[in-house]
Symmetry: none
Subunit: 211 residues, 4 copies
DNA sequence: TATGAATGAGCGTTCATTCAT
DNA sequence: CATGAATGAACGCTCATTCAT
């Protein structure tokens, strides 16, 4: 294989990557404007100034586009969690910060959070290797914080870190769904701000694992 | 109005109710076979051996069918919670039993749990008065158990019962979604049974509120 | 044929007539509430507290119900025209009064006027003998007034009364349609009240036939 | 942007326009075969040998198809009126010619006249800017002829031109409806040709405004 | 006579995907 | 590589009419 060819190939790869990003950004815009339910290939194509058929050169189908955005969402969340995990010396605070990073992510990236949520409550979606890896990275990060906490003796020594990391994830998704879908309920029956509600959730969770 | 007429009327009411149940059962069957996303009026009608138009004699629209099933699901869950709340003298045990009643309900009424979940994570669905009442009954039951626990001093005195009832609900939904949608993940990364995972979730939650 | 039988038959006829009127009144109510386009057999049956099938015992189909109401509308209009034709000694005034009776009928019996109009602009509707007769009665009345006017020498002697009666009818329907469907247009481009517009129409028509 | 692209774009535009016309022609054919009431998207698509969905690439919805045909009808009528208004030096003759252009248009473009009529007797139809403009052009043309006639002193000086233009329009529509829907009536009760009937209508109208 | 449940064809509209160019 | 026109099945829903009781 000649060098030229390699270079040409690399350029092509870049172009392909660039195009994919273009499409994804268009899809995100549509997501913002219309929401997940109303997202159509036609709308994405229009937003991207591309023909509908063109999208199928870069993505196998609609689901793959959503999967790609979800992948980026997971990676963004990982970054946020990473930052949260390094914002304090106290592992318990790190955990608390991760919980709040989750909340902030929901507040500031509603579209992406929608997709994270979507991938957690819809059966039949294909989780690609990439997607799985991103998930595992998040889990691994949380586990590492939990392990540190255990080592420092600030949380229960018997706690199964891996297991609890998943519990964290599942409960966070559930609580944010509640906040998102039934905001009026919380306001009217609890007379409480969303944030206070989430705070109670976090406090309760941490209470449950503290020594 | 003569007795006869009353009886006739009552019979008609019964028949109408029976028919509605028939349709609902057909819908549940479709739900089982195809899942919520693929549930169409055409499919339900076919399953019920009825013309599509006939369904509209008994339900205003598709959403009303789902609402009806969801209503029954919520009432069934209430029964289960009620039973759980009376199965022990210890309020803490009652709470634990409620958590497990939730799990059992998911295991034995997957379709119904799907709908409960659906109504918690989809915006834009109309919660009728009946549906709201069913929801409130469940919440009220949980709150009463929490209050009893507080009075007996077995959980933290400062805990906001109403708030925690909602946290319970949101986290339960989230955890069950995780179990439902990602069973392989839990098996492979945790090497653990679903039930053990749920148990950890429950223990953690209760740990968080115990005195 | 025995007397009894005749009486029984007559009673039945009466009952049948009464029922028909019941249904027609219900239909008129529905017409008022929902308009001609949204009038459905189901709605009429409900309004009449009858089963849908029952309506078909008294009317062959939906069109026959509308035809019946139209018949009554035409007869009502005939009454109004009759009154108008007798409200003055001057045949020209009588004519003018007929024009205005038409307008008043539109104002106060919008539903009925709708149907009159409907029967004038929809092809394929069956005009029964009764309907035709009612039409002819109206025309005959107008013709008689025109003839009187001709005899008194207040309108052009060469005018074909029968012909002009139909011209009156057609133009009245057309003008009222314009008023009904494009009220904003008249207001905005003419800056004029509906009534003034109709007045101009009448004046112009009468100018055209006066000696 | 290069010339080529412009040309390509123009070609595309042309093709799109051509396709739209194709669909419109199919719709007109259906109109001819089945009438306005029975015109369905399915029928138009079939007539055009296209899938139903394809129509929606060219028109937002069914109403837009009808609006488009109506627009063309109005513009055709405008042309006819224009020609009529220039076919004589005498403004009164011009007016008469316009009346007859209206009749000829009905005779030779029954389908289009149907739609013109439809838009005048159906509430709830959206009059787009284009449609309104076409309407206004017609009205303006008529007004200009009326003004000329007034200036030349051949019609009553007090006549409100704008108002009478609308009266002309409303009465023409009404008379043509009568001719269209009740041809037998006119034949049998008047024993007269349609054309003679219309002539009487025109004469009467003109008599009403002449000095 | 009266019922009213049931029909079934019909409606306008949407949309992911394909394919000839 | 890119197009975008075309598809066609699917969707939720309406309604005049029928018919067994």
């Amino acid at each position: 294989m000649g060098k030229k060819r390699n270079i040409a190939k690399a350029v092509k790869e870049d172009e392909k990557f660039f195009r994919k990003q273009q499409i994804i950004q268009a899809a995100e815009l549509v997501l913002k404007k219309k929401g997940l339910n109303k997202l159509s290939i036609a709308a994405v194509a229009k937003e991207a100034n591309l023909a509908q058929g063109t999208l199928y050169l870069y993505f196998k189908n609609k689901e793959e586009i959503l999967a790609q955005i979800t992948l980026q969402a997971r990676n963004l969340l990982l970054s946020a969690f990473h930052k949260a995990a390094h914002s304090s010396a106290d592992p318990l605070e790190q955990l608390r910060n991760i919980y709040w990073a989750n909340f902030d992510f929901y507040i500031h990236h509603k579209i992406h959070y929608d997709l994270l949520s979507f991938y957690e409550n819809s059966s039949g979606l294909q989780e690609t290797d990439e997607l799985l890896e991103a998930s595992q990275n998040i889990t691994a990060l949380v586990i590492s914080v939990l392990d540190r906490a255990k080592n420092q003796g600030v949380i229960k020594p018997g706690l199964n870190a891996s297991q609890f990391a998943h519990i964290m994830w599942g409960t966070c998704i559930g609580i944010i769904q509640l906040i998102e879908v039934k905001p009026a309920l919380l306001q009217s029956t609890l007379g409480i701000e969303t944030k206070k509600f989430y705070e109670a959730f976090v406090n309760n969770a941490l209470e449950g694992i503290k020594v």
